[in-house]
């Protein structure tokens, strides 16, 4: 089958960028990595890319294909082109990280963020003579996070990182979960506390991009959400993110539907006047065009607040749902 590649080149010595087009013949089972190696070995020895294991375990070959981060050794050409031999695949280095050369990124920021979450077990108390005794379910749960091969795909495409490089970003946060969720670690509370600060778990915009691009089913966003739940349970509620989920939930338990008006004060703090005032111009604009829901003026929980039809049945359901125990969220490729 014919394969057409348009690869973005970066020349580190000249400081220039450009594109190289390649057209090769290869079997139908060819992966993007196979194709790039074929190019490198037989067409253009100057093409730089990182690769090693060819079996999605070393994490070297992550790159952007048609705008989306992928592991090259896992990406079948025929799936990428949907069988269309005329489709020219656009290949470039990962996003959100500087490029050293061609398809090779400088991943120092990636590793620095990793180090920033204290990514090593910190047990407390005397070491047992034999192994720590822990339930297998916990180990299985952590193994899903340990599946992370540090390829950088999630970081490459993280939508928050695009606008804010101080966000710890999915990979490091998933790694943080691996410790927060490990019963052998003695610093869970400290970890969650630190992670609840700016740039941490509450800064994720919940766009699922990292879940979508992760080649190993780590689902970093789900780990972030698990840590949010753990942080709330641990009483770490004095931050906007925690207040946001609380006011939202309160809005539903009170009236069954979202009360948009009180989202802002409820999240930022009822007495956070400066912040509330920043929203006023927007709120006024909305009011002027009839978008301000006046039936929401009374905050949830106060007498007279808006309640949907049949709220008493919803209330019963909510009350009884407290006895449920949800299975852990998974996304597998």
């Amino acid at each position: 089958m014919k394969i057409k590649l348009k690869v973005k080149r970066t020349d580190p010595e000249k400081g220039t960028t450009g594109y190289s087009k390649y057209e090769i013949e290869a079997p139908e089972s060819t992966t993007l990595l196979d194709a790039l190696i074929q190019v490198r070995e037989y067409e253009d020895g100057s093409l730089a890319l990182r690769c090693s294991c060819r079996s999605a375990i070393c994490g070297s070959c992550s790159m952007r294909v048609d705008g989306r981060a992928r592991l090259a050794c896992r990406a079948k050409i025929i799936a990428l082109t949907r069988g269309d031999e005329s489709h020219e695949l656009s290949v470039e280095a990962m996003g959100n990280m500087p490029v050293i050369k061609d398809l090779v990124n400088d991943m120092e920021s990636f590793w620095a963020k990793m180090r920033s979450v204290d990514p090593y077990l910190r047990p407390v108390g005397p070491e047992p003579e034999a192994e720590y005794r822990v339930p297998n379910e916990t180990m299985i749960d952590l193994t899903h996070t340990m599946n992370c091969i540090m390829c950088g795909a999630c970081v490459s495409d993280c939508t928050v990182l695009e606008v804010d490089k101080s966000f710890i970003a999915p990979a490091a946060l998933a790694k943080a979960y691996r410790f927060a969720g490990d019963p052998r670690d003695g610093h869970t509370h400290d970890r969650l506390e630190k992670l609840s600060e700016a740039g941490g778990i509450w800064d994720c915009t919940r766009c699922n991009m990292c879940v979508e691009v992760c080649p190993k089913g780590v689902a970093p966003m789900n780990r972030i959400l698990q840590m949010r739940e753990m942080a709330l349970e641990a009483g770490l509620t004095n931050n906007t993110g925690a207040r946001h989920t609380n006011i939202f939930t309160k809005s539903i338990t009170d009236g069954g539907r979202l009360n948009e008006i009180w989202m802002v004060p409820g999240s930022v703090g009822m007495f956070n006047l400066p912040r509330i005032l920043t929203e006023m111009p927007g709120a006024l604009k909305m009011a002027r065009v009839g978008k301000l829901p006046f039936n929401q003026m009374i905050p949830p929980g106060m007498p007279g607040s808006h309640k949907m039809q049949g709220m008493d049945r919803v209330r019963n359901l909510i009350r009884k749902s407290a006895s449920l125990k949800a299975p852990k969220p998974e996304v597998k490729d």
Binding site: C53, I57, C58, N136
Partner: protein
């Protein structure tokens, strides 16, 4: 600054390298670690099935059992003093990794779970699903990310070693290129530990990653260190059809069957007692015989995991489930998986004693690059991970006290000149129509054809001639990329040189050993010959450039060689 000074230089940042670095750093040494890839990209991460834990809890069993089984599996070429060390100290290493945080699978009572592995009479292999190597590798790297360690240790990440520095008969570190700048520097040290892993890419196909090019073995050889047992190349029974990617022995450990094209569990004919879990060389030869005698399909036989059930596969063999699905579109819960024997591991390597020390003062080696020998003529599965940890640590444990109180004169920058000239020579060569990749492929395929599972003197001799031709081509081939930054073309060129060194050593040793033992099968000498060949073959480069071949008797402590039956 082109010259750097350290106490301990570790070359290679896989399991052995990082273990050595951690151990040295814990003792207070100024440690530097060089790796041509980021540590977590090291090939240790591809080990899937597990790590043996002799002496760990009840399952680990008495260390003597593990030592005996390792000795037997080595077809009695393993040095039993080294094997005893491995067995006695292995358990402690396994527990150390658990304390550091490895998420070993557990039994209902919370203790670590075990599975059976080839060559072991009982289940003593501890595991993390099918990603044990990756799990341990990442945990070791986590330890290196501790602020105190991270700040203290110098990590030459993506630096490529071009030669070892020898001074007055001692090894004083290495000359290395910073891949990101193309500049060469001298990284000097009092002790150097070579942990560069294996050489699978000398063969094609192979389960190994593209980076497994025998660098350290060749570097040590060129520095004059004796290299031992190179004919002992392990051919793993289950590598995936096409890519050669590894399918863990753990699958058989969980109960998978090997079937020929008639749906027979053919291992009954070759190893009626251990069946699919006989030692790897036995299983690989069985498979190849089935294939050669027409009972294979497309050069493969089959791994049958359908009876294991989807739940067990998803929990304990998820990694290979995904590999099968993504690389060959097969659902192993429902279909047969075509596999064939593939080159996987080199039992041979840099000759060391039980402390990882070579005959060159200041030069140590550990892990797959080294040959102590604990694996002899055939390595038991799940012993490699153990080997890396035990001997990685021991090398550091020996080096640090050894260097106390000694003086080490500074090394001048001029040591770098020879390699600079070598590189200039390669860069200046015109392209001549030949390509590094072509030479490498020709080497790989001819090695597989001529020095593979079943060896004959005619084919081996033919390979010696082929290697001469390849070397001549190698001396003439140039590189396409003339840049300095991240010039992977240049690196491949130098790696090919290392691989050719290794290929030559493998082939020469294979010609020399006139018997069949473990992984080395000579059709003209089909039996084991303990009278003449209970010894290692050692190759040493002499100062005058010639090569000397010597023999090293096998160290026997407890177990006299017996006929090996499974």
């Amino acid at each position: 600054m082109a010259v750097y000074e350290h106490d301990v230089l570790v070359i290679g940042a896989g399991l052995a390298g990082m273990r050595a670095a951690i151990a040295a750093q814990q003792m207070g040494a100024d440690v530097a670690m060089i790796s041509k890839v980021h540590p977590v990209r090291s090939h240790s991460n591809a080990a899937q099935g597990g790590i043996n834990g002799p002496g760990v809890g009840e399952d680990g069993g008495p260390w003597e059992e593990h030592a005996y089984e390792t000795t037997k599996a080595s077809d009695y070429l393993g040095d039993q003093d080294a094997i005893e060390v491995l067995a006695k100290e292995g358990g402690r290493e396994v527990l150390q990794t658990e304390h550091w945080g490895v998420v070993y699978s557990r039994k209902p009572d919370g203790s670590m779970a075990v599975r059976r592995f080839g060559g072991m009479g009982k289940a003593r292999t501890f595991f993390v699903g099918a990603i044990t190597g990756q799990a341990i590798l990442h945990v070791l790297y986590e330890q290196l990310m501790r602020p105190s360690v991270y700040k203290a240790m110098r990590n030459y990440e993506e630096w490529f070693v071009t030669s070892l520095i020898m001074d007055e008969g001692q090894c004083r570190g290495a000359v290395a290129m910073n891949i990101r700048t193309g500049e060469l520097h001298a990284i000097t040290a009092k002790a150097t530990i070579v942990c560069t892993g294996g050489l699978g890419r000398v063969y094609e196909p192979s389960t190994n990653a593209l980076i497994c090019t025998g660098d350290g073995i060749s570097l040590a050889y060129r520095a004059g260190a004796p290299i031992m047992d190179m004919e002992m190349v392990q051919i793993h029974p289950t590598s995936l059809k096409g890519s050669g990617v590894l399918i863990t022995e753990g699958a058989r450990g969980e109960g998978a069957y090997l079937l020929n094209k008639d749906g027979e569990r053919f291992m009954t004919k070759y190893a009626p007692s251990m069946m699919e879990l006989a030692s790897r060389d036995v299983v690989s030869r069985a498979e190849q015989t089935e294939i050669d005698e027409g009972r294979g399909v497309d050069g493969c036989v089959f791994l049958d995991m359908r009876h294991l059930g989807e739940d067990l596969i998803k929990e304990r063999l998820e990694e290979i489930y995904e590999i099968a699905r993504d690389l060959v579109n097969i659902d192993i819960a429902k279909e047969l998986l075509p596999i064939l024997p593939g080159v996987h591991y080199i039992m041979g390597g840099v000759k060391t004693d039980v402390d990882g020390l070579t005959s060159i003062p200041g030069l140590y080696s550990a892990g797959e690059a080294a040959c102590v020998s604990v694996h002899g003529a055939n390595r038991v599965g799940a012993n490699s991970l153990l080997d890396t940890l035990v001997f990685g640590r021991r090398a550091a444990d020996h080096a640090w006290p050894w260097m106390q109180g000694k003086t080490f004169k500074p090394i001048p920058e001029s040591v770098v000149e020879k390699d600079r000239a070598m590189i200039r020579g390669i860069m200046d060569r015109p392209t001549n129509g030949d390509r590094i990749a072509k030479i490498r492929r020709d080497m790989g395929m001819s090695m597989s054809a001529n020095v593979g599972l079943f060896r004959t003197p005619e084919r081996i001799q033919k390979q010696l001639d082929t290697l001469k031709e390849l070397r001549a081509r190698y001396e003439k081939v140039g590189v396409e990329d003339k840049g300095k930054v991240f010039n992977t073309d240049l690196l491949f060129h130098i790696e090919l040189g290392y691989m050719l060194d290794c290929a030559e050593m493998i082939t020469k040793s294979a010609l020399e050993r006139k018997e069949s033992r473990g992984a080395h099968t000579r059709l003209d000498y089909p039996n084991r010959d303990d009278v003449n060949w209970l010894k290692h073959i050692v190759l040493t480069l002499q100062p005058d450039g010639s090569e000397k071949m010597t023999y090293q008797p096998v160290t026997i402590t407890q177990w006299q060689p017996q006929e090996r039956k499974y």
